[in-house]
């Protein structure tokens, strides 16, 4: 009901102003899949600024962060997005895992505490999204329950999904494996790090945005 109302408002806006209002696009996925790297890449491409800090240590993003009014152009069309970068969703968080990266024990504990809150925040924001880019690490096994739970929740809420198979610059990356795991969804292989295949990503993003 709420989703239908939202779609109608969007369509009304297009009729009135010729372009869609700020489409809220969420970046969801497990930790260290490259959600912030992708959000940064998009921001850099269209606004010249970055959005958040990236790190090889998991759970670097521990609060939802936004970038308002990102205007993206593709094949003569323009859409206005609000980018919502979310903390990685995990079923377990152990501060000892952070110690391996040379973090002090007190900082690791603080990071773990903030990371648990971040997971809760991410899940609570799901209802607020117009569309979601699920960012997966193409060099990892896609059949993890977290990925399935995220996608299942988006489907249950009727939120359009685009899967970004990130890190195709890595030797181990296997985009086909992600396509086989999620055959019902559009999967685009990208490298947020070096910008490979971003044109195809923007084309797919526009397709997903049309469904909102």
């Amino acid at each position: 009901m709420f989703q239908t109302l939202k779609n109608l408002t969007n369509k009304f806006f297009v009729l009135l102003f010729g372009r869609k209002k700020n489409i809220k696009i969420g970046f969801y996925g497990p930790p260290n899949a490259g959600k912030t790297s992708l959000a940064n890449r998009i921001c850099k491409d269209w606004t010249g600024e970055e959005m958040g800090i990236v790190s090889r240590i998991p759970h670097e993003t521990r609060h939802v962060q936004f970038k308002e009014k990102v205007e993206i152009k593709h094949k003569g069309k323009t859409l206005l997005f609000k980018l919502v970068d979310t903390p990685g969703i995990a079923t377990k968080i152990d501060y000892e895992d952070f110690l391996k990266f040379g973090i002090r024990k007190s900082d690791a504990k603080k990071r773990a505490k903030e990371a648990t809150q971040g997971v809760i925040e991410s899940i609570q924001w799901l209802d607020d999204m117009d569309a979601v880019v699920v960012v997966l690490d193409a060099s990892e096994n896609p059949y993890s329950q977290v990925n399935i739970t995220i996608i299942g929740n988006l489907v249950a809420r009727k939120i359009p999904i685009l899967i970004a198979a990130n890190k195709i610059d890595l030797k181990k990356a296997d985009v086909k494996k992600i396509e086989r795991a999620f055959p019902e969804y559009r999967v685009v292989g990208i490298s947020a790090k070096d910008g490979t295949n971003m044109n195809e990503f923007y084309a797919a993003l526009f397709e997903v945005a049309q469904k909102t």
Partner: protein
Amino acid sequence: MIQKKLKGLSLQIIPYSEIEHLSIVERVKKLLDLILNNKIIILHGRLRPEEEARLIEDTMALVGHIKNFKGIELAVIEPDVYKANFFEKIKHGIAKSLIGNSVALTIIGPASVIKEIKRDPKRLELFLR
């Protein structure tokens, strides 16, 4: 001589009928109570996506507040309905609406006991600590 004590592994099998009548909050609480007692749960059936999300939320709320609790490991095994033919999909859908998703099996356990669950379409491997 150093002797290593091998602790017993406690599995709890729950038929879907046992949680069917419970609300989402009660279901998640029941599962978490067992997990906090270091039990590995084999649930006959699967939780709905919103229940899985709630389970993760409630788990995260407990991490750091209960000694040695680091979270959970979770995996679901179910027939690949995407590859099933039209009639099999219909059959699966009817069964699901009548008796819940009882063809699936859900494995949930504390991350302090289960190190990792590796899953691919054909098998599931459980690695214990």
